[in-house]
Symmetry: C2
Subunit: 430 residues, 2 copies
């Protein structure tokens, strides 16, 4: 009863592609892409990979030829008819026709642009130059490819039984985490784990486990393809990329100081409701909230990312109170390096004082820590960030100096303009 | 790429049979069967099921119709050509032609005989009447059917993801046990878990995990079919059934006192080497060893079963020393309700003082304790024992009164004849 056709077909693949669909990306990339498409599509932008876990020499773990094969394969992909239909016909955050016909017509013709790749000092220098609307689309697939190639390099050395035990342990760990989460009152949690996942199939399993284990307390996944296939909600809003490019494009300090609010002003023209969640930390949360226009307090919520979460949540509550809003009607989304311990701690602290959502990323979809020797399956803190816009360097300050980015002189200028004082470094796990 | 043929074929099964081969039994049944075939094949013997975990109402868990279907299916089985070839051609314990042509010619024609089944007070009364050579073959398949039907009754209520998590946890648990065992010096361990396994496929996985995790420290499996398919050693020697029937057939106290040694005398005519392992506890280990003929000290070893293992091992060492044998050249096989804790304890106590082997049973192949509510997958201590021979009740005393069996008056007579004093009860887990 061997399925000879399946077996022959599987052996016909030249490679085992990691990215098999342009929708295998985070929903917020599509949301941001529409905003970029409408206003800044031709800004020349460079994205680049940065491995913040420098002790892990990724270029020693992954063969350059394999990496090129995967990147090249991703470049062959086009939006399929069914995928386009989903974007056009599905309701996102309860709203249909989230995306304009013009944007989707463009997306149907889109292919990922060229890349530049070199290895240096054990790390890959992987960069993407071109129109913002094109290069922005590389972030998630590039990261997913690098992370899954790392996994595969380890899995290749394991026998069938070792693999079974590995996944048995990983499933057990994820399920026990979900059981713990299930004990929290009024939980709302989503999968944000695409970019640094162990692998695509594994992320799919994690989403299924969340959905079955948590029921309607599981909000959905950031991954469009998994959302489509498993018929769960696609979730996400926006990222540092928008203020970073908006800021880089300004010509003076006054315009720079205004740039993060310009992002919000554009965003609220494009989206509404639960998509109105501001990310305040690009140039320091404290200054951002102090200088924010009053209309920001009418937004649905705030995402608390690089700031220590208890401090960040308290700051959000103070902001809403100072503007006359009731924090219990506001939403705080926590999304930085979460695991069950931190979710429990945050929940114990804030439950009942405001609405809370969790975007659970790498430690949902890539927690194989301790399962193989030498931590070879431990996740790394690798990012793909915009580094240049129209020839000017982009800058990120954030609330954690470990995550700062940009030329030192520009970082100092931004800190001055945004009134950012000295910040204490927080450890970055993932 | 769906395999329509496989799918259609799978749906064509009227039932999903638990026993699919007459070799899906323990090797010691085949060894004992040859001895029975040669000397006592037509003794009328009754076997019966006894659930020592009386609080578990098996007849409430398993539908009688399903049980009958499985028993009926087992009765349709005949030794296949390849199975017969394996018994004829394979080397067992290093020896070829372990089984006579006459015995194998008979086995090729054998089918499991009729059964009698009734439910009473939440338990099944399942008995097998007929020639010893036929009824003896029911023990292992009957137990395996009852245990796997219990598992299935629980699994039926679980979704696909629950099932994945269940097996993920079980694999993780087994593998962690094997990793602990792997740290013991000079380990020799075998799978004895057929009769009370969670299921056939699961036992196969456990055997594979033992083989890959322990290499040549894994001696093999008691299950003939798994040994054949996975090309590992088939292991086992003999059980209480032989002295129980030999004892029941005696006409006076003097013959009764001699019966356990008659078993050994017959056994050493049929087998040699590592198959010469005596099971001393049927009517009390202490008296058995005190009265044993000197030639027993030339046997390879002793199996320590119902006695507390440290006390049983010390008693074996004293026996060998008292007969002038060097315990370091002798083999003690421990086989009663073992799990990793007890193996570690026994090993720490005896390692270096004698050769040690472990027959690991139920807590290898059926340790799903705590994985579902109300302990519904916890193993039960269920046995299938010979209860009558030529119209006379059989008796077992053992070293643990919890495991005693037979009419009270007969048990008392046996205890008097074999000089068994008062025994302390030991808990029976499985």
């Amino acid at each position: 009863m061997l399925d000879l056709a399946t077996r022959a077909h599987d052996h016909n693949f030249r490679i085992d592609p990691i990215i098999r669909s342009l929708l295998d990306t985070d929903f917020y990339k599509v949301l941001m892409a529409q905003t970029i498409f409408r206003r800044h599509r031709d800004v020349a932008v460079t994205f680049g990979i940065n491995n913040r876990t420098a002790r892990i020499r990724i270029a020693d773990e992954i063969a350059e030829g394999e990496l090129r094969e995967q990147l090249d394969h991703a470049r062959t992909l086009r939006l399929s008819r069914g995928e386009s239909t989903w974007l056009r016909g599905n309701a996102f955050y309860g709203k249909r026709r989230m995306f304009s016909a013009a944007f989707l017509d463009w997306l149907e013709t889109f292919r990922l642009p060229e890349y530049e790749l070199a290895a240096r000092d054990g790390q890959y220098e992987l960069t993407f130059h071109g129109p913002w609307i094109e290069t922005t689309m590389w972030e998630v697939p590039a990261l997913a490819i690098l992370n899954e190639l790392r996994s595969r390099a380890v899995l290749r050395d394991l026998g069938k039984l070792d693999l079974q035990v590995l996944y048995a342990r990983a499933m057990t760990r994820v399920w026990e985490k979900i059981e713990r989460l299930g004990r929290l009152a009024d939980l709302s949690i989503a999968d944000f784990g695409t970019r640094r996942r162990h692998g695509f199939l594994w992320q799919g399993w994690c989403v299924q486990a969340m959905a079955e284990g948590l029921g309607d307390r599981f909000l959905g996944t950031s991954n469009c393809l998994i959302a489509l296939r498993r018929e769960v909600e696609a979730v996400g809003t926006n990222a540092h990329e928008l203020p970073m490019v908006y800021a880089a494009l300004t010509d003076d300090d006054a315009a720079l100081a205004q740039a993060p609010y310009d992002v919000l002003a554009d965003w609220q023209q494009d989206y509404e409701g639960n998509l109105l969640v501001a990310l305040p930390d690009t140039y320091g949360t404290t200054g951002f909230l102090a200088d924010a226009p009053d209309w920001l307090s009418a937004w649905t919520g705030i995402r608390i990312d690089s700031k220590e979460p208890i401090a960040g949540g308290e700051e959000a509550i103070r902001f809403w109170q100072s503007r006359g809003a009731d924090p219990r009607e506001k939403l705080a989304i926590f999304s930085d390096g979460l695991d069950v311990d931190s979710v429990e701690r945050i929940h114990a602290h804030f439950h009942g004082r405001m609405r809370i959502g969790y975007g659970w990323g790498t430690l949902l979809t890539n927690d194989f820590r301790g399962f193989v020797r030498n931590g070879r399956l431990d996740p790394v803190s690798i990012v793909c960030k915009v580094i240049e816009a129209d020839g000017r360097p982009t800058v990120k300050v954030s609330d954690n100096p470990v995550k700062a980015q940009g030329p030192a002189a520009e970082v100092e200028r931004y800190k001055r303009v945004f009134g950012v004082g000295e910040l204490a470094a927080l450890p970055v796990i993932v």
